[in-house]
Amino acid sequence: MTAQTLYDKLWQSHVVHEEADGTVLLYIDRHLIHEVTSPQAFEGLKLAGRQPWRVGSIVATADHNTPTDNWDKGIQDPISRQQVETLDANIREVGARAYFPFKDQGQGVIHVMGPEQGATLPGMTVVCGDSHTSTHGALGCLAHGIGTSEVEHVLATQTLVAKKSKSMLISVEGQLGAGVSAKDVALAIIGKIGTAGGTGYAIEFAGSAIRGLTVEGRMTLCNMAIEAGARAGMVAVDQATIDYVQGRPLAPTGAMWDQAVAYWKTLHSDEGAQFDAVVELKAEDILPQVTWGTSPEMVVTVADRVPDPAQEADPVKKSGIERALSYMGLTANTPVNEIPVDVVFIGSCTNSRIEDLRAAASVIRGRQKAANVKRVLVVPGSGLVKAQAEAEGLDRLFVEAGFEWREPGCSMCLAMNADRLEPGERCASTSNRNFEGRQGQGGRTHLVSPAMAAAAALAGHFVDVRSF
């Protein structure tokens, strides 16, 4: 048998039917659902008089619209409330393997909740009407975002009409320096290959630096595969994966556990497997990253300066830089560590797991939020992360430093709830997108790691966390 990639194995084990042109029906194991991209799918299903194929595949939560404070007051925004209530009603009617509604302790950002509950397991195909579904690939599954028509298609047929992507291996060898995290690796990769660099590919992240990451760190990395243009990112199963999954509420137990583990151990690329593209980075070369523009590929290290459009020969790129600098209110050649911040956001499906919060808290060391920083939001990824952080006393460290400790949700990652930037405000954010208006109209987003975000909150400007 020819050597297979992890992606080959995951793909082939789910092909139900293949057309002559290579279009396949791909079987879906886990269907994650949130309130924003599902109402039209449930409505379509109902209008067509169709039943969901396998209710046991559905795991749902409300995250995008839910407020992160004053939970006793409920959801104030009537349109947001209607969307969340529509999800409640749809799940009530249709059913689900598990549902974590607003205020439930299991509620959280869907990509934090899924792995945490054991809803996503190695070897699964995992889909969700959300592009950051790539996150779950960290567990050795094939996970990617789908549109609402596809949500309806999966509900009705348990399959997806799909075509296989090309495969890309991104290998990071060596050891990451102190203060350099999975987020920096993700941003460095996007800086290298660009936001369209992974378009048409499924990416496998490999190499000693990736194996050295915790499973949570791998989630951060796979989460941002989509920002590199790839629908799916994945990491091979190893002992760390298996240890992570064991004991999760929805994970198998007993004899089934042993059977599952035996299977999971096959989920890696074979020796000599061929990839359509290979990208190599050295862990030692990766420094803390800060985005300066309005696309995640507009990224430099904290030791660099904001780029100068005059140095760019390509006219489309040059005007892109000019437009981004003007939107971001930045002058060419400004040193990154002189850029002041107004707001800091620590949260999102990229960086709101317990180790992210620990990393942010560890930077504080008794210091206070800088006077020029208006607010610092710390938003845990789920109710369980929140409880864990509180058990460890992290919430007190944050509050004593002048940070706000919030309820879980997507929050200022996309500002669909009340947490948003005012026009012109500049934010150091641990989220994944720095698009124009992403965190609020006119808001300016700089993507960084949790430790870098916390350091910026304390210093009042970007600062190299390694020397802070």
Binding site: H17, V36, Q40, S131, G147, T159, T199, G229, L414
Partner: protein, 212 residues
């Protein structure tokens, strides 16, 4: 889904790379639980001078005269010319819904983001990939001549300029078939229901822990 066969449509040039789904339809409009009505909020932050919220009367809002979609010469455009990596960002299908609701049926760009690309087909919106040089040529011709129209023939898989120059484009046979006939993909898939059930039964036997 609306069928797509041929189209001779006015072209609007949107000269920006990496146009993301937040720009195509800002998130405040994602709170709707409907599928239609997104057209007036397409490119909302570029198109209007004020901040848009759901429920506003868009006809009374101040429009941005410098935004290309607002130029009188591009009113009624059905073809959007764009630059690389169009539709990057989220999986929100509200983006193709908004483009389609605005009356656009074709987007031509050197590259598209994957999820956006497949979402388009589900909504009768045809995304066409052309080499960057061709897209560049179309941009130049479009800007140079008012009333510039392109003819798109899906059966023949061609885009033809007013001067008669033709460019071929790729599409999978499956997608072409669905679009040409305006087919409901779920219905097509359910024709394989027995196969899906057999696959599932076998999987439950061999890998039962997926079903706990």
């Amino acid at each position: 889904m609306k069928a797509f066969t041929t189209l001779n449509g006015l072209v609007c040039p949107l000269d920006r790379a990496n146009v993301d789904t937040d720009a195509i339809i800002p998130k405040q409009f994602l709170k709707s639980i409907k599928r239609s009505g997104f057209g007036p909020n397409l490119f909302d932050e570029w198109r209007y001078l004020d901040h848009g919220e759901p429920g506003m009367d868009n006809s009374t809002r101040p429009v941005n005269p410098d935004f290309v979609l607002n130029f009188p010469r591009y009113q009624g455009a059905q073809v959007l010319l764009a630059r690389e990596n169009f539709g990057c960002g989220s999986s929100r299908e509200h983006a193709p819904w908004a483009l389609e609701d605005q009356g656009l049926r074709v987007v031509i760009a050197p590259s598209f983001a994957d999820i956006f690309f497949s979402n388009c087909y589900k909504n009768g919106l045809l995304p066409i990939v052309q080499p960057a040089e061709v897209v560049d040529q179309l941009f130049k011709e479009c800007v140079a001549s008012e009333g510039y129209r392109l003819t798109v023939d899906l059966a023949a898989q061609t885009v033809t300029t007013p001067s008669g120059q033709s460019f071929a484009f790729d599409i999978t046979p499956h997608r072409k078939h669905c679009m040409l006939n305006g087919l409901d993909e779920i219905g097509l898939t359910l024709a394989h229901a027995d196969k899906i059930r057999a696959f599932e039964d076998a999987r439950k036997q061999s890998l039962p822990w997926f079903y706990v």
